[in-house]
């Protein structure tokens, strides 16, 4: 009895130490994630001189000046928001729809060279955008589509990484008997996709939408090559403009621009984080 008590005491002590260690690690990791964002927000309220003087985690009083400076530029952040929204929402809609459609076809139908097709998609995931961008640019130039949103939206119909994600999701969540049942109920193949599969795959679609939206919103590389007129600049390009002043750079305004570019993404995460996590777990385990 005596030894039983001491054994349980030593166990609970060990558990306490283990839990404390876990919490310390989690707090450190959280700080690592939060501090850079916090510094951006703090610096958005500081002047260039204050920022050059060193780090601070306490907000200052220059937010108004920085805000006025941003709005005094010929390319406003609001126009950047509008352009980013058009590109991100359109490309996300296309990515999600066509990735799901492709993944559904791979998952549900048997056709010749299905596995080869699947492997090609997997290989495409591994090829960085930078490798093919010059060819893509030349092609768009030939089509007269440079400085238009089309090259930033239309390629979203073929997004290998999204197809890969969608296929992995459907592999674990798709109940094939439902498709058979819908066929017997009288549905055509597209009706099954739209009215049975898509509503059922909502968590996956949602997660894919968020990933696609964030990546498109934050994309700097391709818009910087394709968009030449400032009126069409997306948020990351507008922020970059703030940094490239000929005489001096208003660092506080740059940080404010960066903060503003983060804002929509943060808002989306705050409101939708539950569904994102739910979506990821739903895709991982069949319920």
């Amino acid at each position: 009895m005596q030894s039983g008590v001491s054994l349980s005491e030593s166990n609970s002590a060990r558990l306490l130490v283990f839990r404390t260690l876990i919490y310390i690690v989690l707090v450190v990791l959280s700080l690592l994630a939060v501090i850079p964002v916090w510094l951006v927000l703090v610096n958005a309220t500081r002047s260039s001189a204050e920022i050059r003087a060193g780090l601070s985690i306490i907000p200052s009083k220059s937010f108004g000046f920085n805000w006025r400076f941003i709005n005094s530029r010929d390319t406003s952040i609001l126009s950047g928001y509008k352009n980013s929204a058009i590109i991100s929402f359109s490309s996300t809609a296309l990515t999600v729809y066509f990735s799901m459609l492709t993944a559904y076809a791979i998952e549900v139908y048997d056709f010749k060279f299905k596995n080869t097709f699947r492997k090609i998609i997997y290989v495409l995931v591994l090829i960085p955008q930078q490798v093919s961008v010059m060819g893509f640019f030349a092609y768009m130039n030939k089509l007269g589509l440079v400085n238009s949103f089309v090259p930033l939206i239309l390629p979203a119909v073929a997004a290998p990484a999204s197809v890969f994600f969608a296929e992995q999701y459907l592999q674990t969540s798709l109940v094939k008997d439902l498709i058979l049942s819908a066929r017997i109920d009288g549905c055509g193949e597209f009706t099954i996709f739209h009215r049975v599969m898509m509503p059922m795959a909502k968590p996956g679609i949602f997660t894919l939408s968020i990933l696609s939206l964030v990546s498109s919103w934050n994309n700097f590389f391709l818009p910087s090559l394709i968009l030449t007129s400032k009126s069409k600049y997306t948020v990351p390009l507008v922020v970059k403009l703030l940094n490239g002043d000929a005489y001096r750079t208003e660092l506080g305004a740059v940080y404010l621009g960066m903060g503003l570019s983060l804002l929509p993404v943060v808002v989306i995460y705050i409101f939708m984080s539950k569904q994102i996590v739910g979506g990821l777990t739903l895709g991982a385990v069949k319920e």
């Binding site: 109940v175 008997d177 439902l178 058979l180 049942s181 819908a182 066929r183 017997i184 109920d185 009288g186 549905c187 055509g188 009706t191 049975v196 509503p199 059922m200 909502k202």
Partner: protein, 371 residues
């Protein structure tokens, strides 16, 4: 409601696997036909070929005298109930049941009427606004049945619809489906691996093995006169006892000899097919209920009596199963009356076979010689 005809139907997969071989069956209007057999026997494949969910490699399938080989599932006028219910999780029970009608552009009032009617039959009216996740297994299965009923199809196809339910609910739903068949007077093809479901629900049973039909008959006929050892062993629980035995003919008498015991068979077994087996080894089939430990019966039938060691006694309430061994080598199962049985584990008991209810099978072909 419709008749069905399957003529020389084959299903061969790439790589040479033959799932169904030369399947021939005529199903009359309003029949309740059960396809039964062990896993991999081709019963579900056959059902899916009838539904149009699997292509037919060879042969013809007719529904109401119309060949449907190349007709899409939606145009075959069939409804199917799946083992896992296959309810649309994002729709309510009402929407699930109405979906097929909606797709077929049935007027709204008609949809409402039919769904209400089916819900009433299945007693699920109070569940119509619920989503499938808020239903129990039995309720889900009722909804799946309701979805099929509202369509008023020519043929109902059911693919092991009760397999996911617990034992008690399965018995209850078995009765419900039988009642439903009587009420709707419709053609049902029902797939199961459970021989109890097959025996209790079907008007005719198709026993399958390795893609081949073994026997097609009414349940009672299948039980009384199985055509081979497979059917004899598959139908009936506990399964039939198979004993390697010798046929010994003495004058007009036919005797079966096994493990130093000789069982004299009644006159009706003295037919040429049996007589010509004289001196040959056969498979002697005895159902557990044809073996008794009732003292009076054993005393009155010394010509079919033998003794055995009792290994296990299973008392199930209404009946008792005795697991015995004859001569320490031949295991047998007997179904006896618990109110009269005196058998105890470890004892040697005297048993007798009801010789009017035995079966003899050919040792090589395993086909029935006489039942």
């Amino acid at each position: 409601m419709a008749s069905l005809s399957l003529q020389h139907v084959y299903k061969k997969y790439d790589g040479g696997v033959v799932a169904v071989s030369d399947f021939n069956l005529e199903i009359a209007d309003k029949e309740f036909v059960i396809l039964v057999g062990p896993s991999g026997c081709g019963k579900s494949t056959t059902l899916r070929m009838i539904a149009g969910l699997e292509d037919i490699t060879e042969g013809e399938i007719y529904i109401d005298n119309r060949i449907v080989n190349d007709v899409l599932p939606k145009d075959r006028d069939i409804a199917m109930v799946f083992q896992n219910y296959a309810l649309y999780p994002h729709m309510t029970v009402f929407e699930n049941m109405a979906f097929g009608l909606k797709i077929r552009k049935t007027p709204k009032d008609e949809i409402k009427r039919r769904v209400s009617e089916a819900a009433k039959i299945l007693e699920i009216e109070h569940l119509l606004q619920r989503k499938p996740k808020a239903l129990s297994g039995g309720q889900r299965q009722r909804v799946a049945l309701g979805r099929a009923i509202v369509r008023d199809p020519k043929v109902f196809l059911m693919d092991e619809p009760l397999s996911n339910l617990d034992a008690k609910l399965r018995v209850q739903m078995r009765v419900e489906i039988t009642k439903l068949h009587q009420r709707l007077q419709t053609t049902i093809i029902y797939v199961t691996h459970d021989q109890t479901e097959a025996m209790t629900m079907g008007t005719r049973i198709v026993v399958m093995k390795d893609g081949f039909i073994q026997q097609v008959d009414a349940p009672s006929e299948l039980y009384a006169n199985p055509v081979n050892t497979f059917v004899a062993g598959f139908i009936g629980m506990p399964p039939m006892n198979f004993i390697n035995a010798l046929v010994a003919v003495e004058g007009d008498d036919v005797n079966i000899v096994f493990e130093n015991f000789t069982i004299k068979l009644p006159e009706r077994y003295a037919v040429p097919e049996v007589m010509e087996q004289d001196g040959k080894e056969v498979i002697f089939g005895v159902r557990p209920e044809a073996i008794t430990d009732e003292t009076t019966y054993v005393g009155q039938h010394p010509e079919s009596a033998f003794s055995a060691d009792v290994d296990v006694v299973e008392m199930l309430g209404a009946e008792t199963y005795l697991y015995v061994t004859v001569n320490g080598a031949l295991p047998l199962t007997a179904r006896v009356d618990p109110t009269t049985s005196q058998s105890r584990v470890g004892e040697v008991v005297d048993l007798a076979i009801d010789a009017n209810r035995v079966h003899i099978f050919d040792k090589d072909t395993e086909q029935s010689i006489i039942s």
